[in-house]
């Protein structure tokens, strides 16, 4: 019997060995795959197990974290949700993250290995880094001015610092409170359905994700191309421009809304926004120079600020009639408000287009720097000499032309209005545009460049104009930055 007992014992030993080997398989060799299985809640639980890092505007956090006592413990809160929603985006336990909450998620959730001085040590101890902070470039005064200026109208504002590309304001209206989407549960689901179903698309970040026909504001690009290409050598020499202008190869006649555009000088045409003059200028400059200048300003480029910006469009294959229309910001030409602010900033900043950015730096919870962003030049969009003459033209618009509403005493302000037709047969409510920059008297550099678009500018169609609806908002934003 002893022999058989020993054999039975050997069987038990085999069973024990099988358990040990299998436990090793599950806990060591397959552990990684099981940990990463999307149905495994542990990573989600760990992610929300500590307060989310703060996003700072003007040195103060605009976000917080709330202990919900649920399985996913900490929920995101926002101090001024609708105001900063185009900057922060939302951080939802159900619907993921957007904008800064998305692109800086590693820092904000604490998972970024750069937050840890000894990454391997944390792997061993299973300790989690405290979440880091994200310091934005936003100027709270400018942001508020833009948000207040837009009020209940649909529109967007982008403001940047011309010398660096720092984004000072990024506003989109109507907005929403991202805090409504933070947690889990029925209220969050309802908020998500309501916001996604809303006709005026409150979650659309119009400042960077929506492209509009830029209309007359695009004439800045056409004028710069014409000056750079030598098509126009003097601002005050009359051009050869018929009025009405027959689009090349068609019988369509392009007209102006006001008199005096026939053979007008560039200065007059820019000041009073003569469509005929700029349409012909675009054709005279030619497709290759126009597309190159547009591309140098940032068109057809995929920007990241650090989240992605919808590319602004200037078609690269056009016949002459299409080129004529494209040169006055119609046809397929489309731009984001941020793109138009970059154009304005390039004029103000000597022709150099800076890469716009929203994150000044990221830090650990105890304020030691993790990463910083500095100014980078995207392109030289025009000669400095051209830029000087464009400054002159834009300044004239504000002092004498359609942009008088943006004038600020004590500062040099340049601007350009635009009223963009759109929709089938151009029957949609036109978009009111205004792009501008401002330099306080006695300073070396322009402090701010702004682009404003108002979608539903006024109830009465006849009153819509960039100068009337958009310029006051731009003025308020510039004043906020200048500290006036």
């Amino acid at each position: 019997m002893t022999k058989y007992i020993r054999r039975a014992a050997a069987l038990c030993a085999v069973l024990l060995l099988a358990l040990l080997v299998n436990a090793t398989r599950v806990q060591v060799f397959q552990a990684g795959a099981y940990d990463d299985n999307p149905a495994n809640r542990r990573q989600t639980i760990a992610r929300y197990g500590q307060p989310r890092g703060a996003i700072l505007v003007g040195g103060r956090p605009v976000t917080g974290s709330r202990d919900s006592g649920q399985q996913l413990r900490y929920e995101r809160t926002y101090t001024d949700g609708p105001l900063y929603a185009p900057v922060t985006g939302f951080a939802s336990q159900v619907y993921g993250t957007t904008f800064l909450e998305n692109s800086e998620d590693g820092i904000l959730s604490g998972s970024d290995p750069l937050l840890s001085p000894f990454p391997l040590w944390n792997d061993a101890t299973r300790a989690q880094n405290p979440a880091g902070k994200v310091v934005t470039t936003i100027d709270p005064a400018a942001q508020r001015a833009a948000y207040r200026g837009l009020g209940t109208r649909r529109g967007a504002v982008a403001a940047i610092e011309p010398s660096t590309g720092r984004i000072l304001a990024l506003v989109s209206t109507p907005s929403y409170d991202p805090g409504e989407l933070s947690g889990t549960g029925r209220a969050v689901k309802h908020a998500w359905e309501r916001l996604n179903g809303a006709a005026d698309k409150p979650m659309l970040n119009r400042a960077i994700r929506q492209t509009y026909p830029p209309g007359s504001t695009f004439k800045v690009v056409t004028a710069a191309a014409a000056l750079d290409a030598g098509v126009v050598t003097d601002l005050d020499t009359p051009t050869t421009s018929p009025d009405p202008y027959r689009l090349p190869g068609t019988t369509t006649r392009l007209t102006n809304e006001l008199e005096g555009c026939e053979d007008a000088s560039l200065r007059y045409a820019f000041e009073w926004s003569c469509n005929t003059v700029f349409a012909k200028l675009g054709v005279d400059v030619g497709l290759s120079d126009m597309t190159r200048t547009a591309a140098d300003f940032g068109f057809n480029d995929r920007l990241r600020i650090p989240f992605s910006v919808a590319p602004s469009n200037f078609d690269t294959t056009l016949d002459k009639a299409q080129l004529a229309l494209s040169s006055i910001g119609q046809f397929n030409t489309r731009a984001t408000p941020l793109q138009m602010a970059m154009i304005s900033a390039a004029v103000a900043g000597g022709g150099s287009v800076k890469t716009p950015y929203l994150v000044e730096k990221t830090t650990t919870r105890s304020d030691s720097t993790v990463s910083t962003t500095g100014p980078r030049t995207l392109h030289q969009a025009m000669n400095p000499a051209t830029a000087l003459r464009m400054r002159e033209l834009m300044t004239d618009v504000v002092t004498e032309g359609t942009g008088a509403n943006a004038a600020i005493p004590g500062a040099t302000v340049g601007g350009k209005t635009g009223t963009a037709q759109h929709g089938i047969d151009n029957l949609g409510t036109p978009y009111a545009w205004f792009i501008s920059w401002a330099q306080a008297d006695g300073t070396m550099e322009p402090a701010v460049a702004v682009a404003v678009v108002v979608e539903d500018a006024a109830a009465d169609r006849g009153d819509i104009s960039g100068g009337g609806d958009a310029a006051p908002i731009a003025k308020a934003v510039m004043e906020a930055v200048l500290g006036f």
């Binding site: 019997m1 002893t2 058989y4 007992i5 358990l19 542990r42």
Partner: protein, 448 residues
């Protein structure tokens, strides 16, 4: 089996001091685990730590005193292992109670453990010689069958008819039946093993494989039918597997006939295929085992086995630490059938292996007592009791780690379940009794 050896010439050391030292360490380890849970959750020591430690310590010391009085030669490892596993089980259940504030299982488990220790002490004090049990061979089997059939009269709980409810307490009679069946098998096989061993004729002339004749095959078929009946009527795959495995092992040890193994395996295969095909409950268990993540792919979220595997994986080598895992995601039965997942997640592979080795040691000490004993009944009883523990650990631990299809069964001492913990204390008491006989009769011819 050789002729009875002469009377023992030397006596083994009693080693009660070692047992006491190990018991103290087992109690301290449990109290440490209890404090670790509370500290991890509230960063403060629990107020009841001293009471808990004292309670467990008093129970353990009382059991130790009983062993000292009436089984002085008993194996010194058995009791400390039981105390440690029971203490660890209480810690794990207390830890899971923190996640389910409305359902506190640890206090009830402590009451059952006390009852278990009381029965242990009673068994050690009053059962002076294990051979007395041989007289009750047939009483045991009748009682065991009665206990097994009893739950069929009660409503099913969670798809299985294995519980009876009396005065708020759930009792699983099948747990007690295990011990009684081991007694019956030991008694029956000790009496009939020669008839079983030498009946029948070889199937193949050149091999030693011999099939038994129909006359002695009867009881085996009866047991096989019993396990199938248990399975079908009570939907308790684990228990039927345990009974059948236990019987095959004891039959083999008693007769040494590989033919029995062949018959056993054949019957087991026939039974498993038939039941797996006919019984949807069992069929789904097999499907879950083959495809643990099928419900995830179907968009229904992870099932219990997938959650259990996630818990083990989350533990990795070193574990998250007591109180810091999320094994409660397993949901239903996290404190009972899936208690090992909590151990795996919070104590890691190292902790899990330590627990497996504790069970291995417990089984090994039982087998060792079986080897050292001289009477066939005692030997078979020791082997049977140790095999119950071994099979039970394998079936449930293999189930929750995805080694074999999952069947509901209690992890001995660790899992929530009063009947189970009481039964396991009785098993340990009987092992103490037979090991005391074995070591007090030690004659130097076999391993102690």
């Amino acid at each position: 089996m050789a002729a009875d050896p002469p009377a023992p010439a030397v006596r083994l050391p009693r080693r009660r001091g070692i047992e006491f030292t190990l018991i103290v360490m087992a109690v301290l380890l449990s109290v440490f685990g209890y404090c670790a849970v509370a500290y991890a959750r509230h960063t403060a020591l629990p107020p009841g730590a001293a009471v808990y430690g004292a309670g467990l310590g008093v129970l353990a010391v009382l059991a130790h005193v009983a062993v000292r009085l009436r089984a002085p030669y008993a194996d010194p490892l058995l009791l400390p292992i039981a105390v440690l596993l029971n203490g660890l089980g209480l810690v794990l259940i207390y830890r899971l109670d923190l996640e389910t504030p409305g359902d506190r299982a640890a206090p009830i488990q402590l009451i059952w453990s006390t009852l278990g220790v009381a029965l242990f002490i009673a068994a050690v004090l009053f059962l002076r010689d294990h051979r007395v049990l041989q007289r009750y061979t047939y009483v045991s089997v009748v009682t065991a069958l009665g206990l097994l059939v009893l739950p069929i009269l009660f409503p099913a709980v969670n798809g299985a008819r294995i519980w009876i409810r009396i005065a708020g307490f759930s009792i699983q009679p099948g747990e007690f039946a295990k011990v009684l069946l081991a007694v019956f098998f030991a008694g029956y096989l000790a009496a009939n093993r020669n008839a079983l061993a030498y009946a029948g004729r070889p199937v193949w002339r050149f091999k030693r494989l011999q099939l038994p004749t129909g006359r002695v095959l009867g009881p085996i078929v009866a047991i096989w039918l019993l396990s199938v009946v248990v399975l079908v009527l009570e939907r308790d795959l684990g228990t039927s597997l345990l009974f059948f495995g236990l019987f095959v092992i004891m039959l083999y040890v008693a007769t040494g006939r590989t033919g029995w193994i062949a018959v056993g395996l054949l019957l087991a295969c026939v039974g498993a295929v038939a039941v797996g095909w006919l019984e949807p409950h069992v069929h789904s268990r097999v499907q879950d085992w083959l495809h643990p993540f099928a419900t995830i792919e179907a968009g229904q979220g992870p099932n219990q086995l997938a959650q259990s595997l996630f818990a083990f994986a989350a533990g990795g080598m070193l574990g998250t630490g007591l109180g810091l895992g999320h094994s409660i995601l397993i949901g239903f039965a996290a404190k009972s059938d899936f208690i090992l997942a909590t151990a795996g997640e919070e104590l890691g592979l190292f902790g899990l292996c330590a627990i497996f080795l504790l069970y291995g040691l417990l089984v090994e000490r039982g087998y060792r007592a079986g080897l050292a004993l001289r009477d066939p009944f005692g030997r078979l009883l020791a082997i049977g009791l140790a095999s119950i523990v071994a099979l039970q650990v394998f079936v449930i631990a293999g189930g929750v780690t995805g080694l074999i299809p999952l069947t509901g069964m209690a992890m001995p001492f660790l899992a929530q379940g009063g009947s189970s913990v009481v039964t396991n204390w009785i098993i340990v008491a009987l092992l103490i009794r037979v090991s005391d006989s074995a070591r007090s009769q030690y004659d130097g011819t076999t391993a102690p």
